[in-house]
């Protein structure tokens, strides 16, 4: 067995081990690779920047489920921190039945960090089933869809919701989703009501969303963990997104090296075999 054949016969568990190490090490020793900000992220950041402080609120629809949490939660944290830092009021809701706890925990964590007050600076509406009906209904009157917040307080008694009736009083909606919810916001809030919509989606979905950017149906887009990392760079507060980018970079490079190694081994072994066959003949 020559070196090429040995390479081909390598136990794939060594590859698994290498991947495992590549993910774990940057948690302890961050590389801090620079992250370049791309226009779709910049545009979303600008849109949040345009919202007046302590005025009409940003509506953040945290629509992800546990399966896509690692990609989308860093986005939620970055956007919430950005908004709270500028004292922009934030309303959070969810369209995913499993999103209730996830949305609540992200919101409360960011609010506590930034010293925001429930009711005056932010509020949590909870979950309502029936994606498209919810979005359409909120365009007419939010209080008919969510008569009270997640904790049973009527919307009319929440100070920051005073005067907020429907999308006319909401300068920006951002949906963070690993499923079709982000598209639903485009179809049912952007199309009929002209609502400005931004989105954060998984890396797999991101390519399908570029057309919406070019047609201006989306004001900005965060794609996967990379999108979150770029947003963190924009607000100058590195967290899980930028951290994750180190592991991502290492593993992406590693996989490319693996592809090359696999090919070198394969062609090396094949050539050797042919030579042997020629000699034998």
């Amino acid at each position: 067995m020559n070196v090429f054949e040995k390479m081909l016969a390598i136990d794939r568990r060594w590859i698994f081990l290498a991947i495992g190490i590549a993910v774990i090490v940057p948690f302890f020793f961050p590389l801090g690779l620079p992250v370049v900000v791309t226009p779709p992220v910049e545009h979303l950041h600008e849109a949040v920047d345009r919202i007046h402080p302590n005025d009409a609120p940003l509506l953040l629809s945290i629509d992800y489920a546990p399966a896509t949490l690692p990609e989308l939660e860093p986005m939620a944290m970055a956007i919430l921190r950005h908004a709270f830092e500028r004292d922009v009021n934030v309303v959070v809701m969810t369209l995913h039945p499993a999103g209730y706890g996830l949305a609540e925990s992200a919101l409360l964590q960011a609010a506590e960090e930034m010293g925001q007050e429930y009711g005056t600076d932010f509020c949590f509406l909870g979950f309502q089933p029936g994606t498209s009906a919810v979005i359409l209904g909120m365009g007419v009157n939010i209080a008919t869809v969510f008569p009270e917040d997640a904790y049973g307080t009527p919307l009319s008694e929440i100070p920051m919701m005073d005067g907020v009736r429907n999308y006319d009083e909401i300068p920006l909606v951002i949906s963070l989703a690993g499923w079709s919810a982000a598209e639903a916001w485009i179809y049912y809030a952007r199309q009929p009501f002209g609502q400005t919509v931004g989105a954060g989606v998984t890396a797999v979905m991101a390519t399908d969303f570029y057309p919406y950017l070019s047609s201006n149906q989306l004001v900005g887009l965060l794609g996967g963990m990379r999108g979150a990392a770029e947003y963190e760079v924009m607000i100058d507060r590195m967290d899980k997104g930028v951290q994750g980018m180190d592991s991502q970079s290492i593993i992406h490079i590693m996989i490319i090296i693996l592809i090359f190694a696999g090919n070198i081994a394969y062609f090396g072994a094949r050539r050797r075999k042919k030579q042997e066959e020629a000699e034998a003949a």
Binding site: R12, H52, P53, N54, D55, D87, M114, G115, Q116, E117, D121, V140, G163, R165, D168, P192, V204
Partner: protein
């Protein structure tokens, strides 16, 4: 704590300055109402009424007649005149005698509104007033209006038209096939691979694993998969090789049972059929994938066939199967999962090949007719794409717009 206070103070400062700016610039009536200043006398003059109000059926020929579209002209005091219109009240009633109820409160400057969720076909009376925060203008009314209940959604005409063309083609070729016309279908690579894989499993004395995807029975890929399963079951029955079929949906399990039982009966091996091998595992995607991985490593099938609708579990299955040393043939029309099957399996039926394979294997002329119809529809599609490109180049937008449906 200190931070909270600072933030609060900063917020208060920003809010106050903004408030001041707003009051100075626009003398916004809403603000005035909340903070009455003693030196300004209360406004007692109502704003001028808005101009002509028109109401008509929304999306004239496309909906259930439950929406009405309204347009009006601005009040002379909105943005001009005394400049104090805060907004408009839109009233709706079922009779001409009373103004009814306020259905919408609209901001100043707006001249358009769509009223939704009405009773289809019923007659409504609308009126509109302008208000300045304390006073309301006289009402402007319009002729009664009713939504038209439509029997056909014209914006979907292109869908129906192409559908009829397509179904016509399928039916014509099905009839031709029934009459006995010879329909050529090219051999699909990968189909030989299925037979080879089953043959190998027999030689090694190990079972064959057939995963019909995790789609429901209503998923067309699942249906195609069941037809292929029937073919595979006949081969395994002849060779007396065990066939394991794990499913993620209960109805698919019962259908698979029927299909396999029938195939075993048809080749005269009804006793070789083992109902314990057609299994329902779990509806949950990764619970299912994990359990199939377990089967691959514990029962060591020598051939793994994945046919049907797959999502992210595709690579989990295919890589574990490879590690277990099985020959693998996959077939799916899930575009996003094709790359993984193509890289990890020995053969892959790509996209439409899955449907073609089911028609090809059944050898039933009627099923082949559908295939031929699809091919001709592709010719129509190609023609439309080329035509679209040419017309678009020449500046005809109508053609392209016909394909923009709602």
């Amino acid at each position: 704590m200190k931070r909270t206070w600072l933030t609060f103070l900063a917020a208060a400062a920003v809010a106050t300055s903004l408030l001041g700016a707003a009051v100075a610039q626009e003398a916004a009536p809403v603000v005035e109402e909340e903070v009455p200043r003693e030196d300004v006398p209360l406004d007692t003059v109502a704003p001028a009424a808005p101009g002509a109000l028109t109401a008509r059926d929304y999306l004239d020929s496309n909906d259930a007649g439950d929406k009405i579209e309204l347009d009006w002209e601005l009040s002379p005091d909105d943005g001009a005149g005394s400049c104090d219109v805060a907004g408009y009240f839109l009233w709706r009633s079922r009779s001409a005698s009373s103004p009814g109820e306020i259905v919408a409160e609209l901001p100043s400057g707006q001249t358009h509104y769509v009223d939704r969720n009405l009773e289809p076909g019923a007659e409504y009376f609308y009126s509109i007033t302008a208000f300045d925060g304390t006073n309301e203008s006289a009402a402007v009314t319009c002729a009664p209006v009713a939504g038209r209940v439509n029997l056909f959604q014209t914006s979907r005409a292109s869908i129906l038209a192409l559908m009829l063309v397509f179904f016509g083609l399928v039916l014509v070729f099905t009839k031709l096939a029934e009459r006995g016309d010879e329909l050529f279908v090219r051999r699909i690579p990968g189909l030989n691979a299925i037979e080879e894989a089953v043959g190998r499993a027999t030689e090694m004395g190990r079972p064959v694993l057939y995963v019909p995807g995790i789609g429901e029975i209503d998923n067309i890929m699942t249906i195609a998969s069941l037809t292929i399963l029937s073919h595979v079951a006949k081969i395994t029955a002849r060779y007396e090789t065990p066939l394991i079929v794990p499913t993620a949906r209960a109805v698919v399990m019962s259908a698979a049972e029927e299909v396999v039982k029938q195939a075993y009966t048809e080749v005269g091996q009804p006793d070789a059929y083992n109902p314990d091998n057609i299994r329902y595992l779990s509806d949950a995607q990764f619970a299912f994938a994990g359990a199939v991985n377990g089967i691959m490593l514990r029962e060591k099938p020598a051939a793994n066939l994945y046919m049907g609708a797959f999502w992210a579990e595709s690579l989990l299955l295919a890589e574990t199967g490879f590690e277990a040393g099985a020959i693998q043939v996959a077939g799916t029309a899930m575009v996003s999962q094709l790359p993984f099957f193509v890289t990890a399996c020995d053969f892959t039926l790509m996209g439409e090949e899955l449907y073609a394979a089911s028609a090809y294997l059944s050898r039933e002329p009627k099923l082949l007719g559908g295939l031929k119809g699809s091919d001709w529809m592709k010719v129509v599609t190609i023609a439309l794409v080329v035509l679209g490109a040419v017309l678009n180049f020449m500046g005809f937008e109508t053609f392209v717009n016909w394909f923009r449906t709602q």
